[in-house]
C-alpha cells in the first residue's frame, strides 16, 4: 500500500501537541478522519508530535474498537448485536447488508465505500434493531432496507420520551437539541444563577440535603462526593462528566445530551462552583457522534453567552469545558478508566482507593458524575432541596429515567418519580406486552443486572426497595423479553458483550468473561456439558469476588440470576427452553 500523504497531518498535530499525551485520542480521531484508518507512518507521526512512545500509541489504538490499524470502508456500518437488537433481528439486517455489498463482516467493499461491523451496543435499544451508518443512527432497521441504507437516504431516527413527570426530560422528546435561548426561555440557567448568589459551601449543603444519589449505576451520594473533592488538597480541580453510557439497554444519557445539552452543562458549572474546580471534561462515548456534536455546539453557545469561560455571569467564577470523544470501549464508563482515557492511555480501571475525589484526573481532586446526575443539579438549586425531595420517596428522592426496551409495545425513555412500581412502568407507561404475548422476564439494571419475572412486577422502583429485593436499579435499564424469546440466546449475547468488552487487566475478568461465553455458547446451541453449571458458578463467583473493577464484578450477574430462575436450561442433555426451530437433537453428543 502506498504511503499516505502526511502533509496535512502536522498542522493538526501542532495544535494538539501542547497538551501532550492527553491529546492522544483527539489526535488519533483527527488522523483517522483524514486518512480513514491509522497506518504505521500516521501512528508514528502522532506519537512523535505528542511525545508518546510508539509502542504505547499502538497499545492505545488497539484498545479502542473504533480505531483501525487496517483499511476500512469510507463508511463503517455498525450493526448492534446486544441482546435486545439481536432478539429484534439485527443479525438478519447485518446479513442483508453484507449480501448487498458483497462483503463479509469487517471486509471493505470493492469500491472502498463500506465496511459492515458488529457493534457491542449502540445505545439505541429503544429503536431495535439499530445501526450506526457512519455517524447516523438508524433504528428499526429491516433486511429489505439494505439498499436504502447503503444509499445513505435514510435520516436519523429518534426514540419516544414519556413518563409521569417531565422535569429532567422537560425539553426532550422532539428529537432536536434545545438551544441556549430556548433553554433560558424555559427557565434554564436559573439554578446556576441562584447558586452564584450563594456561597460554594451553601451550594454543597443544598446538594447534600437533596439526597441525590448518582444515576450512573453505583448510586453514591452526590453531595458526599462533591464534599470530598471540595475538601481535598491540590489544584487545579476538575469536574468530569461521564457520558460514556455503554451498558446494553441504556440510552438515557444520549437523549439528555442530544435534546437538552445545556442542562448537563449547567449541572457541571454548579459543581465546579461548589468544589472550586476550574476545568471540566465531558467524555462522550464514540458510538454517540450526534450527542458529541450537539454537546460541542452547546459548549460554544455557552461560552459566547458568558456561561462558560472567565467570570461566568459576572460572578467571578472561571470554568471551561473540553469535550472528549471515546472510541469504542465499554470499560471507559468505569470512572477511573475514563480518567485514564482522557489522559491518553488505554482505558484500564485504576485500583481504588484512592478515589477520584482526592486522586482523579492527572492525579488532582476530581468530581466525576454521570450525565443524568448532573441534570438533576439545576433542579435542586432552582427549586431548593426541600422542594426537590417532594419528588420520589424519602430514601430515594428525585426523578429517575428508565430506559425500557425489548418486547413491549412502546419502548422508550420514561421519567418517573422514584417509588412507582415496575408494573406501572412496563404496563401503564410502556404499554405492556405485544398482543397475545406473556412476560417471560425482564432484565433490570442493564446487562450487568438481574432478571425479574411476573411475580416481581409489583416491586417498587426505589433504591431501598430494590436493594431489599436483591435487584439492581443500575443505570435504569429494563429490557423486556416475552414468551417467544430464547433466554439462552439472551444470556449468550450478554456474555458475549462482556467478553468483547473486558479490558484484560485482571485475570478473573480477562479469562472469566471468555470462559463464561464459551460455556453459554454451547448451552445456547443445546450442547451443554456435564458440570457446566458448576463451571459457570465458579467462574461467576470468582469474577464477582475477585475482579478489580465493577465490570468484572458484575459480568456474571445476569447469568447467575438466569441460572437460579431456569436451572433446566443449563443441564447437559436437558431439554432447552424455547429454542425455536432448532431442537437439540444433538444434546447427547457431549457428556463431558
Amino acid at each position: 500500500m502506498a504511503d499516505p500523504d502526511l502533509t496535512r497531518l502536522p498542522s493538526i498535530l501542532a495544535e494538539l501537541a501542547p497538551q501532550g499525551r492527553s491529546a492522544l485520542l483527539p489526535a488519533l480521531h483527527a488522523a483517522q478522519r483524514l486518512y480513514g484508518w491509522l497506518s504505521e507512518p500516521v501512528a508514528a507521526a502522532v506519537g512523535c508530535a505528542l511525545g508518546v512512545p510508539l509502542a504505547d500509541v499502538c497499545g492505545v489504538i488497539d484498545f479502542y474498537a473504533m480505531f483501525y490499524r487496517r483499511p476500512v470502508g469510507k463508511t463503517v456500518v455498525r450493526v448492534c448485536r446486544a441482546p435486545v437488537c439481536a432478539i429484534a433481528g439485527a443479525d438478519a439486517v447485518a446479513d442483508a447488508l453484507c449480501r448487498h455489498l458483497k462483503v463479509a463482516p469487517d471486509e471493505v467493499s470493492s469500491d472502498g465505500d463500506f465496511t459492515v461491523e458488529h457493534a457491542p451496543c449502540l445505545g439505541l435499544c429503544d429503536q431495535a434493531p439499530a445501526l450506526l451508518v457512519g455517524e447516523t443512527a438508524l433504528g428499526h432497521a429491516a433486511p429489505e432496507q439494505a439498499a436504502e441504507i447503503c444509499a445513505r437516504s435514510r435520516e436519523r431516527t429518534v426514540g419516544f420520551v414519556g413518563g409521569d413527570i417531565r422535569s429532567l426530560t422537560a425539553n426532550c422528546g422532539d428529537g432536536h437539541p434545545t438551544s441556549l435561548d430556548e433553554y433560558r426561555n424555559r427557565g434554564g440557567y436559573a439554578g446556576l444563577k441562584k447558586a452564584l448568589t450563594m456561597t460554594p459551601q451553601a451550594v454543597l449543603a443544598e446538594v447534600k440535603a437533596s439526597g441525590l444519589a448518582g444515576r450512573g449505576g453505583a448510586a453514591f451520594p452526590t453531595g458526599i462526593k462533591w464534599e470530598g473533592a471540595a475538601k481535598a488538597q491540590g489544584q487545579p480541580k476538575y469536574v468530569v462528566c461521564n457520558a460514556d453510557e455503554s451498558e446494553p439497554g441504556t440510552f438515557k444519557d444520549r437523549i439528555l445530551m442530544e435534546e437538552d445539552p445545556h442542562r448537563t452543562l449547567e449541572g457541571m458549572i454548579i459543581a465546579a462552583y461548589a468544589v472550586g474546580a476550574s476545568r471540566g471534561f465531558i467524555y462522550v462515548r464514540g458510538e454517540f457522534p450526534h450527542a458529541f456534536k450537539v454537546m460541542g455546539e452547546a459548549v460554544e453557545e455557552a461560552r459566547l453567552a458568558g456561561a462558560l469561560g472567565k467570570n461566568i455571569f459576572a460572578a467571578g467564577l472561571d470554568f471551561d469545558i473540553e469535550l472528549r470523544l471515546g472510541a469504542g470501549a465499554y470499560i471507559c464508563g468505569e470512572e477511573t478508566a475514563l480518567l485514564e482515557s482522557i489522559e491518553g492511555k488505554r482505558g484500564l480501571p485504576r485500583i481504588k482507593p484512592p478515589f477520584p475525589t482526592t486522586h482523579g484526573l492527572f492525579g488532582k481532586p476530581t468530581v466525576i458524575n454521570n450525565v443524568e446526575t448532573f441534570c438533576n443539579v439545576p433542579l435542586i438549586l432552582e427549586r431548593g432541596a426541600a422542594e426537590y425531595r417532594k419528588i420520589g420517596t424519602e430514601k430515594s428522592p428525585g426523578p429517575k429515567l428508565f430506559c425500557v426496551s425489548g418486547q413491549v409495545r412502546r419502548p422508550g425513555l420514561y421519567e418517573v418519580p422514584l417509588g412507582v412500581t415496575l408494573r406501572h412502568l412496563l404496563f401503564d407507561l410502556a404499554g405492556g406486552l405485544n398482543p397475545g404475548r406473556k412476560l417471560q422476564a425482564a432484565l433490570m439494571g442493564g446487562a450487568a443486572g438481574a432478571f425479574v419475572v411476573e411475580k416481581d412486577l409489583d416491586v417498587i422502583l426505589s433504591f431501598e426497595q430494590l436493594n431489599g429485593a436483591g435487584l439492581p436499579l443500575g443505570s435504569g435499564a429494563v429490557m423486556v423479553f416475552d414468551d417467544t424469546a430464547d433466554m439462552r440466546e439472551v444470556l449468550k449475547r450478554t456474555a458475549h458483550f462482556f467478553a468483547d468488552e473486558s479490558c484484560g487487566k485482571c485475570y478473573p475478568c480477562q479469562l472469566g468473561t471468555v470462559r463464561q461465553y464459551e460455556i453459554l455458547d454451547r448451552v445456547a446451541s443445546g450442547h451443554a456439558r456435564a458440570g457446566d453449571r458448576e463451571r459457570l458458578t465458579d467462574v461467576g463467583g470468582t469474577m464477582i469476588d475477585a475482579s478489580l473493577c465493577g465490570l468484572g464484578q458484575t459480568a456474571a450477574a445476569a447469568v447467575l440470576s438466569g441460572m437460579k430462575l431456569w436451572p433446566e436450561l443449563f443441564e447437559a442433555g436437558g431439554k432447552g427452553r424455547r429454542a425455536k426451530g432448532k431442537e437439540q437433537s444433538a444434546n447427547s453428543k457431549e457428556q463431558g
Binding site: 504505521e40 501512528a43 508514528a44 506519537g47 512512545p53 510508539l54 509502542a55 504505547d56 500509541v57 499502538c58 497499545g59 488497539d62 484498545f63 474498537a65 490499524r69 470501549a329 488505554r346 485500583i351 467478553a499 468483547d500 468488552e501 473486558s502 479490558c503 484484560g504 487487566k505 485482571c506 485475570y507 478473573p508 480477562q510 479469562l511 472469566g512 468473561t513 471468555v514 470462559r515 464459551e518 454451547r522 456439558r529 463451571r535 465458579d538 467462574v539 463467583g541 470468582t542 464477582i544 469476588d545 475477585a546 475482579s547 478489580l548 464484578q553 463431558g592
Partner: protein, 233 residues
C-alpha cells in the same frame, strides 16, 4: 511511623503504617500466594491470586496492594478466596502454556486445581518470535503479568520498546506495529527476560541448549545472527 495492629487468621501482628497485607502476613510467617507480584516492580493487583477476605469489605481484596489498617481482621484462606484462587489457576491453565512456569505449577498442585476443568477452551497460542540474537519471545507462555512492560518503562529502563496490543482476552505484549525487536527502541538490557516468570521470554542460548544444539552450533547461530535451526514446536 506508628505501628498498626491487626490480626491475620486470628494471630495478632503490629506493622508500620502503609505496610501491605502481603508483607504483614510474611512477618507472621504466613505465605499468601502471588503470581504477578514482583518485589522490584510496581504492584498492580492483576492476577488476584493473592486475594484475601477482610472483615467489613464485601469483595476480596488483593493482599499485594492493600495497606493494613488498625483493627483489620484478615482471613487468608476463606472458602471464597480458595475458590477464586483455584478457578483463576484453572482458567490460566486453560489459556496459557504453563509448562515452564514452576511457581504456577506448584500453586496448581497446592490448590488442587484441575488443568482440564475447561474443555474446548480457546488458548492464547502464538508462534515463537525469533527476531534478535539475544532472546526468544514465546507469547503462548505469557500470563500478562506486565513485568516486562514495566521494567522496559518506568520501573527500570525507560526504554518503552514494548507495550500491549489487543484488549481483553486478546491482550498481548507487542512492539509498535509488530516490528522486530532490533527495529524498536529496545537496548537489549535483558531486564524483561530477567523478570519473566513463565519462560515466555528466554535467553536465546538457553533456548538453543534446550533444543539440544551444541555450544559450537549455538555460537554460530548467535554470532551469525541466523535464524535458529531449532526443532519446530
Amino acid at each position: 511511623m506508628a505501628d498498626v495492629k491487626l490480626t491475620i487468621d486470628g494471630d495478632s501482628v503490629a506493622v508500620p503504617a502503609g505496610t501491605t497485607i502481603l508483607k504483614a502476613a510474611e512477618q507472621l510467617g504466613r505465605s499468601v500466594p502471588t503470581i504477578c507480584y514482583h518485589d522490584h516492580c510496581t504492584a498492580n493487583g492483576l492476577c488476584r491470586i493473592c486475594v484475601v477476605e477482610v472483615n467489613g469489605i464485601k469483595p476480596l481484596v488483593p493482599a499485594c496492594l492493600t495497606p493494613v489498617h488498625e483493627g483489620m481482621k484478615v482471613t487468608t484462606a476463606s472458602a471464597r478466596a480458595e475458590r477464586a484462587r483455584r478457578t483463576i489457576l484453572e482458567m490460566l491453565a486453560s489459556a496459557v502454556d504453563l509448562s515452564q512456569a514452576p511457581e504456577i505449577q506448584k500453586l496448581i498442585g497446592d490448590y488442587r486445581a484441575d488443568r482440564a476443568r475447561f474443555p474446548d477452551a480457546e488458548r492464547r497460542a502464538q508462534p515463537i518470535l525469533d527476531d534478535n540474537p539475544m532472546y526468544h519471545r514465546d507469547y503462548s507462555k505469557c500470563i500478562l503479568c506486565w513485568r516486562c512492560v514495566q521494567v522496559c518503562a518506568d520501573d527500570a529502563q525507560f526504554t518503552y520498546a514494548i507495550n500491549f496490543t489487543g484488549r481483553g482476552f486478546e491482550t498481548a505484549i507487542g512492539t509498535f506495529f509488530d516490528k522486530p525487536m532490533p527495529e524498536t527502541t529496545c537496548v537489549f538490557c535483558g531486564q524483561c527476560v530477567g523478570v519473566c516468570p513463565t519462560g515466555a521470554l528466554k535467553p536465546k542460548r538457553e533456548s538453543l541448549l534446550e533444543q539440544e544444539l551444541s555450544p559450537d552450533e549455538i555460537m554460530q547461530v548467535i554470532e551469525g545472527g541466523k535464524k535458529s535451526r531449532g526443532k519446530p514446536r
